[in-house]
């Protein structure tokens, strides 16, 4: 049985380490915040200008001046700090963020990532995604293994316009987990969802990877 959204978030949370500064993308990556192990100190960065992003506010306590990068209302923590967009991306581009967890449309066997536009469809923009993948030390991608139409998303080469070249370190799909020790290595299949066979993964993965 493929992993659920919650399973994926829980699996991605295993990449967190004590003391990490982490940026979570929109969608499933945001759910990772619910799986930070008790006792582990992890600081969430929101690229709109906040370090130490807290949980959603209680009803009636929403503050329009306090949102995350997904434009959702959030709260502050006792150690929260705020800063300008230029300072925020100095943190990101400058390699001060330990880990970014992002969604994707396509990942290539060489670690290329496409997650910002589909030619012929309305382009909404890349937001901070290109800055994050270029600057953050370790990039984890969480996505479905295939599209809604059943097309593979972990490919030999991305067909969609790229967000970054050779930037993905770990790929978590609803069927499997692929990792590589460095960005010079091929990805290796390291985990398989319960009830999913290696044959099934092979048949749905054009990308070259180590078994």
């Amino acid at each position: 049985m493929p992993w659920s959204r919650e399973d994926l978030a829980a699996r991605a949370a295993k990449e967190l380490k004590d003391g990490f500064y982490v940026n979570l993308g929109i969608g499933i990556p945001t759910l990772v915040a619910n799986y930070i192990p008790p006792g582990m100190h992890v600081v969430l960065q929101s690229e709109n200008g906040m370090l130490g992003t807290g949980p959603f506010p209680f009803e009636g306590e929403e503050d329009p001046d306090l949102i995350n990068a997904g434009k959702q209302t959030v709260t502050a923590l006792p150690t929260t700090s705020y800063f300008s967009s230029a300072d925020s991306f100095a943190m990101i581009r400058g390699g001060h963020i330990n880990l970014a967890i992002l969604g994707a449309m396509e990942v290539a066997e060489n670690g290329d990532l496409a997650n910002w536009m589909i030619p012929g469809k309305m382009v909404k923009g890349m937001g901070g995604a290109m800055d994050l993948v270029a600057g953050v030390k370790r990039v984890v991608v969480v996505m479905d293994h295939t599209s809604k139409e059943g097309d593979p998303k972990f490919k030999k080469a991305c067909e969609l316009p790229l967000t970054g070249t050779n930037v993905v370190d770990l790929l978590i799909t609803d069927l499997a987990v692929f990792s590589r020790p460095t960005r010079r290595d091929l990805f290796k299949l390291i985990e398989v969802a319960p009830g999913v066979t290696r044959n099934e993964i092979r048949s749905k993965t054009p990308a070259k990877y180590l078994e």
Partner: protein, 243 residues
């Protein structure tokens, strides 16, 4: 308040500085920290053919969405323009142009523009569409893209508190692009929720020193719209971030 920088309202603060075809920076992330009063006055001024540098394009009829609806914007320089149907319609009809910048590249271009730096080499966007038509340089095996500093004729910014000297303090994530844009325009017009006399603000706490602000107004009637209201129930543990 006798400072030459203080204007009575948004309309008078924009008088003489807005022109058809100008480049305008506008602070805000989504609709958080946008200069509501100044945008409304810009709308009322009828100025057209604007190139607007702003992270987003507002919502339908809200923020920059007001200017889009009135067809006052010719081109947007932004990182993300989702959530705006009128923008989408105009874009698909070829009525408005868009230049996408990675969000951090845009912030740094504005910072550089304001700091008198011609441009900078960044690895952001290397090997992507963003690098097309731009000079690149490979150093120690890493490819970098030349991004040029960005300046504007006018910047409209929103702060929480300001004084008659133009010193500004922002509040929480409403800061975003506002302090960077304040540095990068010929004329920066600031609106604040609370305009105070000299000596009230602590000099150690100023985010934007007054040298960057030429005109300032006390804003009024803030709506401070919330784009995505997300809450948790009181029964849930404090760790629950997403229901």
């Amino acid at each position: 308040m006798t400072s030459k920088k203080v204007y009575a309202d948004a309309a008078s603060a924009l008088k003489g500085v807005v022109k058809d075809g100008m480049t305008l920076m506008c602070g805000g992330f989504g609709v958080c920290g946008i200069p509501e009063n100044l945008i409304a006055a810009l709308h009322d001024s009828g100025v057209r053919n604007l190139t607007v540098v702003s992270n987003n394009a507002g919502l339908d009829g809200v923020g920059l969405g007001l200017l889009l609806q009135a067809r006052q914007i010719r081109k947007m320089i932004s990182s993300y323009v989702g959530e705006n149907k009128e923008f989408e319609r105009q874009y698909l009809a070829g009525e408005v142009e868009i230049e996408f910048n990675p969000q951090g590249t845009m912030a740094e271009r504005i910072r550089a523009g304001g700091a008198g730096i011609y441009g900078f080499f960044t690895k952001v966007g290397a090997g992507t569409q963003v690098a097309e038509g731009k000079e690149t340089r490979t150093v120690d095996g890493e490819t970098y893209v030349l991004e040029k500093g960005l300046v504007a004729d006018v910047a409209l910014v929103k702060a929480w508190k300001g004084d008659t000297e133009g010193n500004l303090i922002y509040r929480k994530t409403a800061r975003n692009f506002n302090p960077n844009m304040a540095t990068a325009a010929q004329v920066t017009v600031a609106e604040v929720e609370e305009l105070v006399e000299p000596g009230v603000l602590d000099g150690d706490s100023i985010h934007t020193p007054g040298i960057f602000v030429q005109r300032i107004i006390q804003g009024a009637n803030y709506t401070k719209m919330i784009e995505k209201r997300t809450v948790r129930k009181r029964m849930e543990g404090s760790r629950a971030v997403v229901a």
